[in-house]
Amino acid sequence: MTTAMILVPRTPIRSGDVVMLKAMISHPMETGYRRTENGEEIPRNIIRRMICRYDGVEVFSVEMHQAIAANPFMSFGVVATKTGPVEFEWVGDNGFRHRQSAQLTVTG
């Protein structure tokens, strides 16, 4: 079961503030370099992209490679304009796709 956490800062956000969003998702980010005890290669299985859309517009994305640590953690800035969802989408190997949203509330 994939679990993801999105953090929108709780402090009051005014229009024009730059807020740092955080997102972390459970995923082994299997590099493809490890082997089982029997010497068999464990195939690569990683998240390739994370996209963030704010109020429906893509504001940030990141392409990931095997060197991103397991349970990928990302933090980045976004200019708060109006109250609306920040939608995250993660896409990866073997058809992996996970979507999760959080609300960004602008109070003034």
Partner: protein, 223 residues
């Protein structure tokens, strides 16, 4: 553990073990397919009923058996949910453990000796002081005689299991105290106790006695 690992643990939003907690909380509320209750069906709100529970584990049960928290959850699964218990070290069971252990965070770990487990504490201490493996080292030789010194790039701790289940950076996954102790056995090139051996519980009880009075920091991050 160094400042980086400490910082990762301190921020609930950075701590990968909190993903396990989120999964465990979801599992807490999920009833098995056979119609038996979810954990919440008997235990209600995890914040209320699980508060302080992990701090007093391992514990003697009503039937006299002494169990660690993993064993207790497995017992609930088989006896009250009529499902095959999830194996130790499975992601699902670790997640439930993490969710329960979080509800003791910040609370003092209770001394097993004060809860009728003095004999287990003594047995555990004997294991702790026993030389093991090809390197012929006991736990005490590193964790009592050389704590604070470096082994590889890590500082040797004093052997206080206050953070389990942990996210160990080396495993890139969650794991139990038993898994971590097995790694110690590998470290001294010793044959680990067999799976399910009472020695694991005795050793954990002794280690928790050492940690008595310390605050739980579960679920933790360790290198």
């Amino acid at each position: 553990m160094g400042p980086e690992a400490q910082a990762m643990q301190r921020d609930d939003f950075s701590n990968p073990a909190m993903l396990g907690v989120a999964a465990g909380e979801a599992a807490w509320n999920s009833a098995p397919a056979n119609g038996k209750p979810a954990c919440s069906g008997c235990h209600g709100d995890i914040n209320a009923t699980m508060r302080g529970v992990d701090a007093r584990y391992p514990a003697r049960q009503a039937n006299g058996a002494v169990m660690d928290l993993t064993g207790r959850i497995q017992t609930c699964q088989s006896q009250h949910q009529a499902i095959t218990p999830e194996p130790r070290e499975s992601a699902g069971l670790l997640a439930l453990q993490a969710a329960v252990a979080l509800r003791s965070r910040g609370m003092q770990i209770e001394a097993p000796a004060s809860r009728g487990l003095s004999e287990a504490v003594s047995r555990g201490e004997a294991l702790y002081r026993q030389r093991l493996g090809q390197l012929n080292l006991s736990c005490a030789q590193c964790h009592d005689d050389h704590w604070g010194r470096s082994l590889g790039g890590t500082r040797i701790p004093q052997g206080h299991p206050t953070g389990y289940p942990i996210f160990r950076l080396e495993w890139q996954a969650m794991g139990s105290l038993q898994r971590r102790l097995r790694n110690c056995f590998t470290g001294v090139r010793a044959e680990p106790f067999p799976a399910g051996a009472s020695e694991w519980i005795d050793l954990e009880i002794y280690l928790r006695q050492r940690a008595a009075g310390m605050a739980s920091d579960a679920p933790g991050v360790r290198p």
